[in-house]
Point group: C2
Chain length 201, copies 2
């Protein structure tokens, strides 16, 4: 009913399958896009500026920080990574919905920067399933898995900061549920003043 895109923040513990669910959403919805991060690390040979990342020199990036140009940013391994506000706003203006796939800790900040954001917490069907998924990757030691499970438990306590909780039982169902959330959010009376005005004119 309204033309502006929707901003959706998807978080959840490592191993719940955020990436797969986001990929499914993008496949199914041509009017959705994934937010592209900015980074100070150099591009790899296969990477293109504005596709995988916006590549920035540190000085540029720090200027953007000082200008409050990021929704959220953080430093990993000596490189800065952040979600630029303007790129997100431009897409929303064009009627394209934007998905931010971010860490559980980052979601609260992003929600402060964008009060209109719809916050979805992606949860595993059970802690046993989460452990099985982390183990199944076969890339982590038992210690790393124990540590991830402890982090996941702490992150689950943050679920109450979110609007919706979607259990990633199957990717298809999780994507459908998120699509329903977006539809329902568009149908809220509070977001349809213009429609009511046009009916009442």
């Amino acid at each position: 009913m309204e033309k502006r895109g929707q901003l959706i923040i998807i978080s959840g513990p490592a191993g719940t399958g955020k990436g797969t669910v986001v990929k499914k959403l993008l496949e199914r919805n041509s009017d959705m896009s994934l937010s592209i991060s900015a980074t100070t690390r150099g591009p790899r040979p296969c990477e293109t500026d504005g596709v995988e990342y916006y590549f920035k020199r540190r000085q540029e990036f720090e200027k953007m920080i000082s200008e409050d140009a990021f929704i959220e940013y953080a430093e990993y391994n000596g490189n800065l990574y952040g979600t630029p506000k303007k790129a997100v706003l431009d897409k929303l203006e064009q009627g394209i919905s934007v998905i931010l796939e971010i860490e559980v800790q980052g979601a609260a900040n992003a929600a402060k920067a964008f009060p209109e954001a719809i916050l979805v917490f992606l949860a595993p069907p059970s802690m046993e399933v989460l452990r099985a998924r982390l183990t199944g990757r076969g890339t982590e030691t038992a210690d790393v898995i124990e540590n991830r499970m402890k982090i996941a438990e702490r992150e689950l306590c943050r679920a109450e900061d979110y609007h919706y909780i979607v259990v990633n039982d199957t990717v298809e169902e999780a994507a459908e549920e998120i699509e329903c959330i977006l539809t329902a959010e568009r149908l809220k009376v509070s977001k349809n003043k213009a429609l009511l005005d046009s009916l009442n004119k």
Copy 2:
């Protein structure tokens, strides 16, 4: 995720197609039911107690009023009609969702009696379409149609008392949107404390 049924109130001006949308919802969802009203008018030959209506003697009905047993009630043509609370509560307990198709004025009272109710305002695509639908019925005089249009305008001003607004452009789409609303409502974090507890135990 939760087993209790959902209570959904669907209102909207005469001619927006509430009945058709409700029928479609019931066809598509075996776990939904339409609330059955009680009335003091006598059953017609084709009617069965507990199917079309709960048939009550006036004395019984008035006793129920005094016991606060109705979600809402009103008198038309010397007969009392009302929505009994208990029947609705019993179905919700059994995990069956209940649709109340009620007049715009009645919705606010029903919402007071059931704070958990999800309020959906069904709107016509435009006032011109509403007029065309009312005229197309071929059963009303021009005066009656003018009067209905005036009532519809007043009722549209009440849309802000509702949670969601669904435009009945096509019945199929309107039903799908209402289904999405119900799905999204079930996914609200505030309604999934038990799920979070079970993950965190």
